[in-house]
Symmetry: C2
Subunit: 352 residues, 2 copies
Amino acid sequence: MSTIQDVARQAGVSTSTVSNVLNGRTDRMGRATLARVEKAILALNYRPNRAAQQLKTGNNPMLGLLVPSIANPMYGYIAREIETVAQQKYGHRVMLGNTYRSKEIETGFFDDLFSHGVRGVIMISSQLDEQHLDLCVQRGLVAVSYDRPATPGASPALDHVTVDNAAAARMAVEHLISRGHRRLAFATAAGQTMSRREKVRGFLAAAQAAGLADSAHVIEGSMQAGYGDSEMADVGRMLAARIAADPRRPTGIVAVNDLMAFGLMAGFRDAGLSVPADVSLVGMDGLFLSALMNPGLTTVRLPVPLMACKLVERVIGRMADPGIKPGEFIFQPDLVERDSVAAPPQPVRRLA
Amino acid sequence: MSTIQDVARQAGVSTSTVSNVLNGRTDRMGRATLARVEKAILALNYRPNRAAQQLKTGNNPMLGLLVPSIANPMYGYIAREIETVAQQKYGHRVMLGNTYRSKEIETGFFDDLFSHGVRGVIMISSQLDEQHLDLCVQRGLVAVSYDRPATPGASPALDHVTVDNAAAARMAVEHLISRGHRRLAFATAAGQTMSRREKVRGFLAAAQAAGLADSAHVIEGSMQAGYGDSEMADVGRMLAARIAADPRRPTGIVAVNDLMAFGLMAGFRDAGLSVPADVSLVGMDGLFLSALMNPGLTTVRLPVPLMACKLVERVIGRMADPGIKPGEFIFQPDLVERDSVAAPPQPVRRLA
DNA sequence: TTGAAAGCGCTAACAT
DNA sequence: ATGTTAGCGCTTTCAA
């Protein structure tokens, strides 16, 4: 590994000149000098030592990325987009952490962020208390949160990038209603996240607006382990059994996310119910996997690449200019129609 | 952020004493001194600056992790296991990169590994030339490769951790044969990886051993984009159409991985063929998603947590002791039976 | 048992 | 236009 000194020697200049070209201050030198330095850099295949740069400047071209579990296909998708734009567009690397939604693990990650000199972090579905977060922000962390709107009232210390969850739920409900469904349910897992709360709110509001308040219910399953990839589907499977057993069961179900919908589909199959003949189902997320399900899952798709861009743009932008105030960025989803929704089954008529 | 100096001052000792307690050399000091230092560290919530440590020692408690795409559920799963053990068991953080199987991107990642002072890397399904890799290893990188056996003949500069891919394919074939299948196919995507080659070899060998060499074929679909999450399923879907159109089509199919199997299932459905009544299907990977498919996918499951442990243990072990020679570690898979395999359809008899 | 001090590779203020 | 230099926070040798 060659150092800035090696380059300086090779080019016959001082280290500050090399440093200047490294940092784009090329106006401060002759063309010939610049050329010599660039040649030496190439010849030695020189790469600046980030640790030294960071020790000096306090900056590290790296972002923290916190997800509940990267094994969850939705978080994997978001993470891929984030890493790709952080790298290709801004030259930043990504330090990844799985939190399993544990506060202790999150705290540990933040500590390490500081000790590695990483000053920007993207948090996917955080559960962090506002006070802990505020503390990190006070210590100079630039944080951007996904999938969780700003806490109303609290001073926004963070950026918030999120889909319009209430609108997403509404789209699902309206789609079901347009196909003739009157008995609706929203299937979710216990353990409130902001986004789940918003979806429930949107679901209920849309049902009410259609005059269906009395026949729209929220069904919640409890999760053993707490973080949510296969567990989320397990909950769906369990919930489906419960729903199937109910003689007055809903005919149209909105799932809190695609994984839940996958579990629901499997559970209905176990119970001998057919989707969409007996129950219709709408997911949320728009995973590529939803197209592979049998039947293909109708789902509300989130604009993941757009949101990932915004997330990265905001952390990096605010790291560069601390004067920028945190903001809130809400994206609109869209409905992808496939084969998991049909008209509700006709009630069986007894012959007189 | 407090420094080692702050701690030294607070405890009334020199920085070297603090450094000694930081590095476990507690025998070199009095009990009272140790206690004072520990108290000061706690009081100041002190965290050593990794950049400074690294500048001094050349070590960084961080691992590189290279995957083709973290949006692929299999790589997401492996990555989660790796990050978790690296962190919880060894206190190392993970720097993540998506390669999209591009050599340029891989090279860029390696450069950044060096400039960040990261000396250990885990490569999932790398396509790297041996020579490029060797160069990095010569420069001091400790590399561990997953899913690719050592190149025979070449001096092993890397560790290799992999499942016994040939055995995996054999298990799938034998399962199909045991259910009465005689016309077999192996469905894969174009673009050779080591693991795909091994699987093909195992498939062919098993078919031959059963005297089925003439009726066992490898079917290969080409990928547009090159890296493989939804693309892999797309190839499967396309391949299914091709297979369905063949009047002498195979009755039992082994898919190169679960994603391919998912695509195949969807494609057969498109074509009006039923799994397993018309075609039987065995996947490979053992994703949790395979249990959610309709029908549930029979698949050869890889021992991911075990392999992840070994991967991490090897990089970190060899970083600590460069004397350890690279080795090869092969894990055995097992078959998970679900509902995608049945007896082959009876040939239609015409009435005389 | 403890401390002083050099130096890892870099940046940037200051000097020339 | 270019060079000199202090110092970022830490480890470690050597001296006391």
